[in-house]
């Protein structure tokens, strides 16, 4: 694999849900590439398909058709047992800090879960106990608190626990799914700074999903704007922000609440 190979290549990806009375096309022929080390934003609202898209990229949902190539290998159509390398390489941070941590597990066990599963067959498994301490310190939590339960932490701290868990297997890609949307605005900055530091320190590829374009503008180099399952606009963030081409993008930019000082 050459150094120019994108870490992700998504081709003609489609996902249709046929549960309800009418089939819903959540993702409608999406194609794009993510260079290694890029900070990519995916912006769109509920129903835009962004959550379904990233779950497919993380191998947690099967596409209806199309291909996803991660580090040169296709991940579509594979059995779970063949995806251990994907699990080690791509991790998610979810939106709701209340439901993304098992309320009955101690924080140490939550963070160590990726280190105790069967994805380490054939490779060196890091020592869970010491890794937990390192990770907690890295995300700004007190390692002495590792035997506590999630409800004993605040929302911002719980997101840090979730980030520590995501970093445990030393992934190459971190996917943040509305990771700050459920936090108070005043707490957001801390968690965003943490993302920024970690991505820079460890050379991670960051895929940051949000409905808030101002957050994406701060965090990312490039952005995909999704609407009704399609990518309606894509490109470098400043260009999109200053010169939006698509009406939906313009609507998104106009909707960001601004501080009215006057």
């Amino acid at each position: 694999m050459g150094t120019d190979e994108p870490i992700y290549r998504v081709q003609d990806l489609v996902r249709v849900f046929s549960h309800g009375p009418q089939p819903v096309t959540a993702v409608d022929r999406v194609s794009f590439e993510v260079p290694a080390g890029q900070r990519l934003g995916i912006v769109g609202e509920s129903g835009s398909g962004k959550s379904t898209l990233i779950r497919m990229m993380a191998g947690l949902r099967r596409p209806s058709s199309g291909d996803i190539v991660f580090r040169g290998q296709s991940i579509v159509g594979r059995r779970e047992s063949e995806l251990a390398w994907l699990r080690r390489g791509v991790q998610l941070v979810f939106q709701d800090p209340r439901s993304s941590l098992d309320p009955r597990m101690k924080v140490a066990d939550i963070i160590a879960e990726p280190l105790r599963s069967k994805i380490w067959k054939g490779t060196q498994r890091p020592d869970p106990a010491s890794r937990v301490v390192d990770l907690m310190a890295r995300v700004g939590l007190e390692p002495a608190d590792r035997n506590r339960y999630p409800h004993q932490f605040s929302g911002g701290q719980r997101q840090r626990i979730a980030i520590a868990r995501a970093l445990a297997p030393s992934p190459q890609v971190l996917i943040a799914d509305e990771a700050v949307s459920a936090l108070d605005v005043s707490v957001r900055a801390q968690v965003l700074n943490l993302f920024g530091e970690l991505v820079a320190d460890q050379g991670l590829t960051l895929i940051f999903v949000s409905h808030d374009l101002s957050v994406v503008r701060h965090m990312c180099d490039a952005v995909l704007v999704m609407h009704a399952g399609r990518i309606v606009e894509a490109g470098p963030i400043e260009q999109i922000y200053l010169d939006p081409q698509h009406s939906y993008t313009r609507q998104l930019i106009a909707s960001v609440p601004r501080l009215r000082r006057g």
Binding site: R55, L60, A84, R87, L92, E113, S117, A168
Partner: protein, 272 residues
């Protein structure tokens, strides 16, 4: 006591029943099945709870009856939970496939059979009723309740983000069921267990009453109530004691279930 009164009161009541059962294994004031001429005697220092229509000492029979009560309750709840909970969790995990549907429809069918009917069928198959047929019948009849309740709770748990996180961490479906689903449905299962225990005791009483349960020679609280029927208007004593202890056992297990549920909930361990 203020923190968890249900647990303590429930435990005390259950302990009483357990103590009775244990004592009866080594000693009873009189032989519980010894017929004596002293029939229908009121409570006295000689017979603390009086005697019944055959002159048998009621207190001794109550002690021995505690054994059957616990045995039936534990076995029935045991069968119900050990079979019902895995069925419910499996149905939840396979919610969208045929397996989930088949499991729930099968439990619906069993649900439709009252324990009584099952006991009659089993008794007929064996030739006559016995403790084992009674326990088995009640146990099978408890399975659907556990399956339903487990499935509902498991579905709730499975919709949480931490389950997706577990998959992303590489945890197997079995690992997810064991490490995430079961601990989080425990409170619900405990409540169901305490309810089912109470129902099992009552069901056993009904079966004994109808002669479908334990053989006539074994005193059970249900049988004692059956035998007290002819004397209900004259010697309330005979029905009172077994009835009282059935009530204590059922209430005790219900409270214990509530108390245990609070105890195992980590979110309630904090006092700010």
């Amino acid at each position: 006591m203020r923190r968890n009164p249900a647990l303590l009161i429930g435990a005390a009541m259950v302990a009483l029943v357990v103590v009775f059962a244990l004592i009866s294994a080594v000693w009873t004031p009189y032989n519980p099945t010894e017929v004596t001429p002293g029939r229908l005697l009121p409570p006295s220092t000689a017979h603390l709870m009086g005697t019944d229509g055959f002159g048998q000492d009621i207190a001794s029979r109550v002690l021995v009856g505690a054994r059957s009560c616990l045995l039936v309750g534990v076995v029935a709840v045991g069968i119900g939970a050990l079979l019902g909970v895995p069925l419910g969790v499996t149905a939840a995990v396979n919610q969208h496939s045929w397996l989930g549907t088949v499991i729930m429809r099968a439990t619906d069918i069993v649900y439709a059979f009252p324990a009584l009917l099952l006991a009659i069928i089993l008794a007929a198959a064996r030739g006559s009723g016995s403790t084992v047929t009674a326990m088995t019948a009640i146990g099978i009849a408890s399975i659907p309740a556990f399956a339903r309740v487990s499935r509902g709770a498991a579905l709730q748990v499975l919709s949480q983000d931490y389950i997706i996180a577990a998959r992303s961490a590489g945890t197997t479906p079995g690992g997810i069921a064991w490490r995430h689903v079961l601990p989080n449905i425990t409170p619900v299962v405990l409540v169901q267990a305490s309810v089912s225990f109470g129902l099992a005791i009552l069901a056993e009483a009904a079966l004994s009453y109808l002669g479908l349960g334990t053989p006539p020679t074994t005193p059970t609280w249900g049988r004692m109530i059956y035998e007290s029927q002819p004397y209900l208007y004259t010697n309330l004593n005979l029905a009172l004691w077994p009835g009282l202890f059935i009530a204590i056992a059922v209430l005790g297990f219900n409270l214990l279930g509530d108390g245990l549920r609070e105890l195992v909930d980590p979110t309630l361990q904090d006092v700010r």
